[in-house]
C-alpha cells in the first residue's frame, strides 16, 4: 500500500527514469541472461533459450586448445605494461607542464599532447601503416637512410608488444596528464614556498613534495585501472593487427579472440564461453580493486 502511494507520488520522476531503465534492461541486463549460451550447443532454430545444454563442452575446448591461457596472459600483461608506462609518462608530463612551462606554453603543449585522444583507432591504424609499412613506411625510410636493414614489422610478432605499448602511451598521454595536472594544481602551494625559503631546489621540491603528494591520486587511478586488467582495448588491437594471424601469438587478447570466434568462425558456443570467462574474471578483479581502494581511501571507492 505504501509502495503504491510512493509510486504515485514519484510518478513523474519514475516516468523520466523509464527510458534509461529500459535502455539498460535491454542492452545490459537481457544480455547478462544470455550468458547461458556459454553452456549451450547453439542453433538458430532454438535460439538463445531453446538450444540444448551441453554442459562445459564449450569451456573444455577453449581451455584445452591452450587459447585461454595465451589470450589471458596477453590481455593481463599488455594492461600491466600500459598501466605502468602510461602513468609514468602522464605524471612526468603533468609535472613538467605545471612546474617548468609558463602558462601560455603549458596551454600549447597540452593542446598538442591531447590531439591523439581525439582520433579514432581506425585513423591510428592508418598512421601506423604510414610508419611501419615494409615498402614505404617512414620508419623503414629512416632505417634505410642510416644504412640499416628495413624491418618487416607487420610480419614480425616480436615487435608488437613494444609498439602497442608505445601506441597506447601516445594516445592516452594528453588525456591522462590532465588528471594528474588537476591533482597538482589542487596542491597546497604554501609547502613549496616554505621549502623554497628553506633552500630546497626545484629537483628537491619535486622529489619531496610534488611526487609524494601525487601518491594518493596515482594509487587510486592505478588500482581502478587494475580492476580492468582483463578487459582488452578491442579498438586498438583490432586496428593495429586486424586479422593478421602471423602476429596473434603476441597480440591476441581475449576481446579480439571472442570477436574472431564469433564473426570469422561463427562459433557461438565457444565465443560465449570465452566471453563469460572474461566477464567473471573482470567482475572478480574489479571487486578486488574496489576493495583495495576502499581500504586505502573510503571516499574514492567506486561503491
Amino acid at each position: 500500500m505504501n509502495f503504491w502511494s510512493d509510486v504515485l507520488k514519484y510518478r513523474t520522476l519514475l516516468l523520466m527514469l523509464l527510458p534509461g531503465v529500459l535502455f539498460f534492461l535491454l542492452f545490459a541486463y537481457i544480455p547478462m541472461a544470455g550468458v547461458v549460451l556459454a553452456f549451450k550447443q547453439f542453433n538458430y532454430a532454438g535460439g538463445v533459450f531453446g538450444s540444448p545444454w551441453n554442459g562445459l563442452d564449450n569451456f573444455r575446448f577453449f581451455f584445452q586448445s591452450g587459447d585461454a591461457w595465451r589470450v589471458t596472459r596477453n590481455t593481463a600483461l599488455y594492461n600491466i605494461a600500459f598501466i605502468i608506462v602510461n602513468n609514468l609518462l602522464q605524471i612526468a608530463a603533468a609535472i613538467l607542464l605545471f612546474e617548468a612551462a609558463r602558462p601560455w606554453f603549458r596551454k600549447i603543449f597540452q593542446t598538442m599532447l591531447f590531439l591523439p585522444y581525439f582520433i579514432s583507432w581506425v585513423v591510428v591504424g592508418a598512421i601506423a601503416y604510414n610508419l611501419f609499412n615494409y615498402d614505404y613506411g617512414t620508419v623503414n625510410v629512416l632505417l634505410k637512410a642510416m644504412g640499416m636493414q628495413p624491418q618487416d614489422v607487420y610480419n614480425t610478432a616480436s615487435y608488437w608488444p613494444l609498439l602497442l605499448v608505445l601506441i597506447s602511451a601516445w594516445k592516452a598521454l594528453g588525456y591522462g596528464s590532465v588528471m594528474y595536472l588537476a591533482a597538482i594544481t589542487g596542491m597546497d602551494r604554501e609547502m613549496y614556498e616554505a621549502a623554497e625559503i628553506d633552500g630546497a631546489n626545484i629537483f628537491q621540491r619535486m622529489r619531496h613534495i610534488t611526487i609524494p603528494n601525487l601518491y594518493p591520486t596515482v594509487i587510486i587511478l592505478v588500482l581502478l585501472a587494475v580492476g580492468n586488467i582483463f578487459r582488452g582495448d578491442f579498438g586498438m588491437f583490432y586496428n593495429m593487427v586486424g586479422n593478421n594471424g602471423i602476429l596473434f601469438s603476441s597480440t591476441d587478447v581475449i576481446d579480439t579472440y571472442v570477436f574472431r570466434s564469433l564473426t570469422t568462425n561463427n562459433d557461438i558456443g565457444m565465443s560465449s564461453a570465452a566471453g563469460f570467462y572474461q566477464s567473471i574474471l573482470g567482475f572478480v578483479t574489479i571487486l578486488l580493486a574496489n576493495y583495495a581502494v576502499r581500504r586505502y581511501d573510503k571516499d574514492r571507492a567506486l561503491f
Binding site: L89, A93, T138, M179, F234, L262, I268
Partner: protein
Amino acid sequence: MPTQTQATTAASAGRGRSRALKGDLLLFQIIGYSVLTVLAAACLLPFLLVLSASLSSESSIIENGFQLFPTAFSGEAYRLLFTYPEQMLRAYGVTIGVTAIGTLLGLFLTSMTAYVLSRKDFKWRGSFSFFFFFTTLFSGGLVPWYLLVVNYLHLKDTLIVLIVPMLLNVFYIIVMKSFMNGIPEAIVESAKIDGAGDFLIYARLILPLAKPALATIGLFIALGYWNDWYNALLFISSKNLMPLQYYLYKMLGNMDGMRKALISSGAVVNTSLPTESLKMAMTVVAIGPILLAYPFIQRYFVQGLTIGSVKG
C-alpha cells in the same frame, strides 16, 4: 652584536642560495621544455606524415617511401576522391546524421536520467543508481549482445543500430549527476512551491543551469559517434549505411574493392590507382573536421575530465 651578524650572514647566504636556486630552476626548465617538445612533436608529426603522403605523387612514394615533406607534390589523390565523391559524401552524411541525432537524444536522456538520480528526495535513487552502475561491473559479453541486436531486434543494416546502442553511458550519467548535485536544492524547492511539475523543473530550471556540463558531455558523446566504427564493423554491410570511420577502415584494408568501385563509376580508366596516397588522403578527409574543431573544443574535454574526477 651577535644578532645583527647572524642576520647579515643569513641574508647573504640567502642571496647565494637564491642564485643557486635560479640555476637549478633554469636547468629544470631546459629539461622540461625539451622533454615536452619531444612529446609534442611525437604527437604532431604522425599527422604531418599522413598529410604529406596524401599530397605526394604516387611515384615519389614508391621510389622514396613516405616523407615528412612531399618530394614531388601531387593533388591526384584528392582529385580522385572528389571527382566521384558519392560514396565518401554518403559516409559523411551518415556520420553527420548519426552524430547529430545521437548527441541530441543522448544528451536529453543522460541529463534526464541524471536529474532524477540527483534528486535527494527521490526515494529509490540509491537502488536505481546501483541498477545503472552494476552494468559497468558485469556484462554478458559480446555474444549475447550481438545476438540480441541481430536475431531478436533485427537491427542489422539499419541506421538505428549506429545510434541507439551508444545513447547512454553510465560514466556520463555519473558525471552529469555529480554536476547537478552542486545545483542548490532551494531552486527546486521554490519551484515546487510555485506548483511546477518535476519535468518542468528539469526542462526549464535545471537544464539552463547545467549548460557547462551539457556542453562537455555533449562533446564527449558527439566524439564517440563521430569516431565510431565498431557498431558498423559488427552490424553494417550495406554500402549506403557506412559511417565515415568504417569507410576509411574498409578503404585501408581493401584497396582492390576501392579500385573496382572507382573503375565502375568511371573515375579511373586504367587499373593503376595511386593507392598509397589515396589511403592517406582519405585519412586526412576523415580527420579534417575534428582537427579543425579541435582547438576550440579541447578545453571542454579538459573540464569534463576534471568534473569526472570528482566522485558523485
